[in-house]
Symmetry: C2
Subunit: 322 residues, 2 copies
């Protein structure tokens, strides 16, 4: 067992390993939250790209009132790994999604980073158990999976590997939360975690549709953008369907649309809708409703859709059918 050496209030400088879209986005966010950032990236244009990314991100962070105590210029780029992690209180690894590369990189990081420092990985789907296979101190390695852009999307999925210390998982969840993130702490290593499993199912179905000439890219995007995608920022997919059941909620919805789980509406086979699964989903919707009735949730959803449509200029102006 390992207790991280720094309190979350005392992290100070953070190392960002890799400064692509994700690593650079993390750097912008850490800067906004008042940290100094040391970036390691071997690409010759890393510094120029990162400067552009931070410049593009800053106005949005300002609009979210995120910049108290922030110094936009408090970052440096390093090509030597040991130099990049020297003196830092946390490391966020965002290297390309290649298991062999990640394994080697985490082992190198392990060798040069002070032993009490926690290392979070931005991996989109590998488990820490397989990524930390070559490190000496697996206890301080944890997945902290963000979403693009990491400076604006709140979600971070936190999950340890078999060798990760539970205290490190706790510490990472608290650290990201204190940074202003919406943390989902998972107890199990599931490939793709939660959100990527869900959006990957949608993405693969979309690729099949393009592959078979069933829909164009533009139709797929518009079907989500002008359709279900307008509902999900308020309630997510489960509570959204809770409302599709009318006053009977999810129980009515499952009884009414349960048979469609057998329909060829996607290439993905559905699980059997057993009484246990039905019960879990209905009970879960009760928990997620947090005391709001279906009527309350409908009013909340409608207000949200109206506001988003007005916001995006997508009110009643008719579009030309395609």
């Amino acid at each position: 067992m390992m207790a991280p050496g720094r309190s979350i209030d005392d992290v100070g400088t953070i190392a960002c390993i890799g400064a692509g879209t994700i690593g650079g986005g993390w750097a912008a966010y850490f800067l906004a939250r008042g940290h100094r950032v040391k970036v390691w990236d071997p690409a010759p244009d890393a510094e120029a790209r990162l400067a552009r990314l931070i410049e593009a991100a800053w106005p949005a962070l300002e609009q979210l009132d995120m910049l108290e105590g922030a110094d936009r210029d408090a970052w440096s780029v390093h090509t030597d790994l040991a130099e990049a992690v020297d003196g830092v209180g946390f490391v966020q690894e965002s290297a390309p999604e290649d298991l062999t590369l990640k394994r080697r990189l985490l082992a190198e990081l392990d060798a040069v980073t002070a032993p009490e420092v926690v290392v979070g990985s931005s991996t989109s789907g590998y488990g820490m158990t397989e990524m930390a296979a070559e490190v000496s101190r697996p206890e301080r390695f944890v997945v902290g999976h963000p979403f693009n852009p990491p400076y604006l999307i709140p979600l971070v999925e936190v999950v340890g590997g078999e060798g990760t210390s539970p205290e490190v998982v706790d510490w990472a969840a608290q650290f990201y939360t204190a940074l202003g993130k919406s943390v989902i702490r998972m107890d199990r290593e599931v490939p793709g975690f939660i959100a990527n499993r869900l959006q990957e199912a949608l993405w693969r179905e979309a690729l099949h549709m393009v592959d078979n000439g069933e829909a164009t890219v533009e139709q797929i995007d518009r079907s989500i953008r002008d359709g279900p995608g307008l509902r999900w920022p308020m309630h997510g997919p489960m509570l959204t369907f809770h409302l599709a059941g009318g006053e009977g909620g999810m129980a009515h919805m499952l009884d009414h649309f349960g048979p469609s789980l057998k329909s060829p509406w996607t290439r993905l086979q559905a699980p059997e809708l057993t009484p246990e699964l039905r019960g879990d989903v209905v009970a879960g919707c009760e928990v997620a409703s947090e005391g709001r009735s279906v009527t309350d949730l409908v009013a909340e959803r409608d207000a949200g859709i109206v506001a988003i449509r007005r916001l995006l200029g997508r009110d009643e102006s008719p579009e030309v059918p395609s």
Copy 2:
């Protein structure tokens, strides 16, 4: 071939067949757009439920400036089908999702509705070819698939069956568009159309996760709500991934994340990422970008996420990790 008897400017009264969540939502929308509505629903509490639904929907429609010329009380409920469709210029069928029931109901509608009137069906996934199996005039039956709530979500998927007249499909697409809807006109009958194929893949993956204890209902909802769901109202899933590739766009994204299509990130197998599929997706993103560079789209996405987070009160306030 059949030419619909009414111009879209001359539809007048509309019949809503079924007044549940979807049929009642259509009724509210048709009323808002200045039509009179005749509702057929055999349930004894249909009138009371519909009154509540219209009352709940009206403020949102008002906020969207949809109510010019609308008479909120211009509706009546009928238990006799012939009476409900008498004198109407369009019929929207929103009966329960049961193929046997739909087949019988469409045949009854066909018998009592004036022959030149178009009948649209709200079916979530049946093809019109199978639903219209027992009608005498299949040429005037067309799918017009809305999303809940039909009075706020713009998307309507329009697709005919084998017997549907192309003029009727055109007419329906123009009619819904003139009503202020975002119409996707499909050339092929695909079970579940487009948006339901996509959201059904996500929903089935979510059910599997609950079934296997991999995630709770609350985690699933939050993973979308605080994660990818904040991006989709702006750009849909394809253009969203176009931006994940950084300045290299979708081409870079596919080359970088292509191998993850082989990963067990969902139970859904991906199609082979052939050069043809890669080309179609990259070219489709160019079309969908409508001249906007990746930098333009990133700025648009960021502004949208910031505005939605502020709108929903989900700015920096940290949440307790779960």
